[in-house]
């Protein structure tokens, strides 16, 4: 089957068992995401956004249903295989940046390469290139506590990019930033999507952020409520 799908979700369910009670966070999600897409996932708290993002990001596995990433069935993989997929195919950008403290921008960006097969001598070069891509030339050796929020988020994006992943997952990337800085970050993401053809999935509850996406998925109670294509 020839297709252009990066992500194929087929009736994905995720059930948490807390003690005796079972909580259905996802009740059967089916959706395909094309290569080079820029997609937003929206929904109120408790709608299953985070759970869905964890599954797409290979941090978690569906309880039932199938998930294919670039044709590989992720839902059947073990922990080590998932770690490898996260390392090679996926880059994360978090709301609270999640950088290592007291560590330079460069070292933070190099981090994914330490867990890959990239030889040690090439890691620095690749990290510098990724930092340049997000506009941080000259700030490489600054430690994280010497950087502003916007700069920290740029470092996080550089870290997500460094391994040339096919998918970039951003969880509320502007949530901890002021409006202007947030817009700058969104511009960086949009540029990466347009120029480098990186598929981006955004999780947000800010309609303005979702605006830049081509398509928005609305979740409610663990199900897709509606899909809106922007500009319609």
């Amino acid at each position: 089957m020839e297709n252009n799908n990066l992500i194929q979700l087929d009736n994905v369910e995720r059930i948490y068992t807390v003690g005796e009670t079972q909580v259905k966070a996802l009740k059967g999600i089916s959706h395909n995401i094309h290569k080079g897409d820029l997609l937003a996932i929206m929904g109120p708290s408790g709608s299953g956004k985070s759970t869905l993002m964890n599954i797409i990001g290979c941090l978690d596995k569906p309880t039932s249903g199938e998930y294919f990433l670039e044709g590989q069935e992720v839902s059947k993989m073990n922990k080590n295989q998932l770690a490898r997929i996260r390392n090679k195919n996926i880059g994360f950008v978090f709301q609270n940046f999640n950088l290592l403290s007291r560590t330079t921008a460069l070292e933070n960006t190099e981090l994914p390469l330490l867990y890959s097969d990239v030889p040690s001598k090439k890691t620095r070069e690749m990290a510098l290139k990724a930092l340049a891509q997000v506009g941080l030339e000259g700030r490489e050796l600054h430690k994280t506590n010497q950087l502003s929020g916007g700069e920290m988020q740029r470092v996080a994006i550089a870290r997500a990019l460094v391994n040339n992943p096919s998918l970039l997952l951003a969880d509320e990337p502007t949530g901890n930033l002021d409006t202007k800085t947030g817009n700058d970050i969104m511009a960086v993401l949009k540029k990466l999507n347009r120029d480098n053809n990186i598929t981006i999935v955004l999780v947000t509850h800010d309609p303005e952020v979702a605006e830049i996406a081509r398509k928005t998925i609305f979740l409610r109670d663990g199900l897709i409520e509606k899909v809106k294509v922007n500009g319609e």
Binding site: N54, N80, Y115
Partner: protein, 405 residues
Amino acid sequence: MNIIKTSKVALRALGRNKMRSFLTALGIIIGVGAVIAMVSIGQGAKVEVEGRFESMGTNLLFVRPGSRSYMGRHGGGGTYTNLKEADAQAILENCDAVKYVSPNVNGRAQVVYQNKNWNTSIYGVGSSYPEIRNWAVEEGTFFAESQVRSSQKVAVLGSEVSENLFEGEDPIGQVIRINKNPFRVLGVLESKGESGGFFNRDDMIAIPYTTAQKRLLGIDHIQSIDVSAISTTRTNEAMAQIEELLRIRHKIAPGAEDDFNVRDMADIAESASEATQILTILLGGIASISLLVGGIGIMNIMLVSVTERIREIGIRMSVGAKERDILLQFLTEAIVLSVLGGILGVVLGVGSSRLISHFANMKTLVSLGAIALAFIFSGSVGIFFGFYPARKASKLDPIEALRYE
């Protein structure tokens, strides 16, 4: 992830927390240092004791009377008075593995020179005493066999006595009084220093045993005989010859118990070095406990550090660190800490054993074996106590770890 990358990650993580890393390693530093210093004290004591016995002469034999028993009651060693001067003479003449003999009688006496006086041990010995005991005369001469035969009132001083009575004055030719009998000083023995404990071997005066018997003790037996075998290899032969001879001379029926006993230096040296070996084990054992406590300290801090760094672990997992990578990172951190601690501990241990020997005037000996052992032990402590926290870290769930505040 290969070893080089893992070590790099571990070193960076340790470098971010230099103070904590140092405090963690401190337990190991002190533990290893203590083991090395303590064992070096024990080893030093052992070498010192062996050296002392060496200096007394390894071909030395002692003949002492056995224990007298009367109606089944034993009086303890040396209570017989049946060892005579003639026995000593017979040993020298009849046993061909024997080179020198010196009959001995001992007592204590008040010694007076002009207005000074001193209480010391009086050794009544034969003229070959310096050869047997490997003890040179520093000034003057020792008394000759003819002076022993004629029971002359001559004396040779130990260096401690010489210092106390003469205080720098030349003692040779002076007359001292031992229990009111005048004795002419012939010479001074070289200093041997204290043997273990409170006993100072230089606090003594040697006089002819014949004179001691008559003038000081009023006895006609001798208390022991020092014998020197021709060579170290012939001490056993000499021992057998002496036993055979004395059994005949004392008319002991075959099968009956000896009324004397002969011991050689090796027996005595062995039991003494056994005692210091026990000392070494004891000191090393106590110090090992501190090494163990140091290891527990590493585990403790590593556990705290895992909790403190849950977010970091989550970040690493989210960018593709496998369980094994996290396990190896934390394990490597523990091993690096304990090995670095081991190296510093070796430096500390060697340094403090130098200081001890310098300031406490105690002989210490740092053996390579002790260093290697402490080092290997500290490395294993790192692996052993680092494994549990490392495993705990690697089993974290990435989602929960990322959410951890």
